[in-house]
Symmetry: C2
Subunit: 359 residues, 2 copies
Amino acid sequence: MRTLQVALAERSYPIHIGAGLLSSFPLAEQVRGNQVMIITNETIAPLYLASLEAHFSAIQCDTLILPDGEKFKTLETLETLFDALMAKRHSRTTTLVALGGGVVGDMVGFAAACYQRGVDFIQVPTTLLAQVDSSVGGKTAVNHPRGKNMIGAFHQPRLVLIDTDVLNSLPERELAAGYAEVVKYGLIRDPSFYQWLETNNDKLLSRDEAIISEAIFRSCENKAQVVADDETEQGNRALLNLGHTFGHAIETATGYSQWLHGEAVAVGMLMAIRMSAELGWVPAELESKVATLLSAWGLPVAVPEGMTPEQFMDLMALDKKVHNGQLRLVLLRELGKAVVTADYDGAALQKTLEAFCGA
Amino acid sequence: MRTLQVALAERSYPIHIGAGLLSSFPLAEQVRGNQVMIITNETIAPLYLASLEAHFSAIQCDTLILPDGEKFKTLETLETLFDALMAKRHSRTTTLVALGGGVVGDMVGFAAACYQRGVDFIQVPTTLLAQVDSSVGGKTAVNHPRGKNMIGAFHQPRLVLIDTDVLNSLPERELAAGYAEVVKYGLIRDPSFYQWLETNNDKLLSRDEAIISEAIFRSCENKAQVVADDETEQGNRALLNLGHTFGHAIETATGYSQWLHGEAVAVGMLMAIRMSAELGWVPAELESKVATLLSAWGLPVAVPEGMTPEQFMDLMALDKKVHNGQLRLVLLRELGKAVVTADYDGAALQKTLEAFCGA
């Protein structure tokens, strides 16, 4: 087991990474009250719920199984969760345990932020995406029909438990979606990690456990450092959103159902790289290098059929990074150095959108 | 104008109190972005919305008028609010302005806590209850069918603007409901204020402006001190809930519709005083003294017809002050000195409930 610390003063917490932790980690010791509710989804429940429940046989342990999918990441599902907590009389000392991917983690985290104005929660991410990204850093949210993650809170977990074994049951497509975020860390702030990923791509693809574990560790390390510097995204934390503004537009346009988040981010990163190249900040060949890396995983490298530059502009205007009407984007100044800026030539954005939309 | 500061480090903010402030205070200067949404209700809108809107003619100023009443303090209404913000493309630099009583303030505050993971908000309370209590301190929430204020957040406003003139349009019953919370401050931590209230009861009843203004100032001062010491209710902030556990049970039993919050608190405080007297902590005559004070305002001094001790126990078990199954209550050790404790003789609670329920 390897452990990382997310350094946030009185809200600091550990991320534990290792094979078999779902069973072997002494999880019950981490619970402060005598009530727990494990929230998971229909896909994950048959695989791992029993192992997790086994930790809490000595206290009140309730479970809630939600439908699986981003389209259920809504205020409505949240209400189901609150209803269950109230029905089982969970008090302010309860602990919510999120067992699942980013959807479950974001939603349970937000429920924990709001239930009785804030209770403890533990993240047990079961997808690569959640392990390297969404479970770390305390961003919680549900979607609004007009935009992703629009209703949420910053609420840090008590701990994150990453069992690398769970990736064995993860479909290829989901693993690839998570991999997009792994590449992101290399691109935005860790060029040597990016090189390492190019070198080890074949081993990662063949699911070499030690290599996957190292990729998770280095991803979480990058994420933890960014979050520790800027918990509530007043500044550099926004760099983690490389490709996300473009990607969210794709997700919104496709109704959060056809594209996985990581898939949308993969294309979004390529768009951000193209735009950075248009601005003369990175060499044009970086886009094709990254596209090669992503393609090897079966990730998409083109926008959905029929999306237009106008549609992108319209949807991106709702992004949380809009400040006083100005659209700020995360772009690459160079490989391993992202910036968030509204100070760019609009023509470069327009050209990028046109190129990707085939307009 | 008199100004109080709520001392909360980087979340500190002022409370301005005075006649005519709704028009005269330079409110636009306090807004950081270039978007504002004023949220109010059907009762208040015709009275004060235009005055408030006039401040924001230079920037995007949208308004949302909600139905009036505690029964609309729900996740559903919150969704209406989010829909309006998204439809008008409010960004993370927007400011929400809550113009109304506690229901509007609590709900708008919670919306501000969650919209895009947190935006600015300003409280412009229009009831005495909101002015002396709910608008100060950053507790925000909506109700759940099974319990009051169960879904919420701690989110401090940028400022609280208290225009004492608005009380002139407040129905007697609402003024009385707010007065119950004023008396509370005297009972829990400010015995000289309690004496002052006994002395000045007639002037308050005749709406003597200087006296009402002083009562508001001293109430806010007490609240601000408590909040500054314990922002997220880890300890002494719970003392502000004198009478509230009993009161919430009454409100839940009556569906949040027949009783005003302050009315339920009035009876709840009498129940807490009775129980404190049963425990030998305060003289039995304190209850009748306080009852006389409250009755003069037309406040109820008895529980709703038909409520049983069992019903109280059942509803109180859902209170946020339940820790690991133990019901903690705010009681008086002496006049002006409240404690929150689970360390009491259960018989005293039972006896109190029986006495009030006529069982």
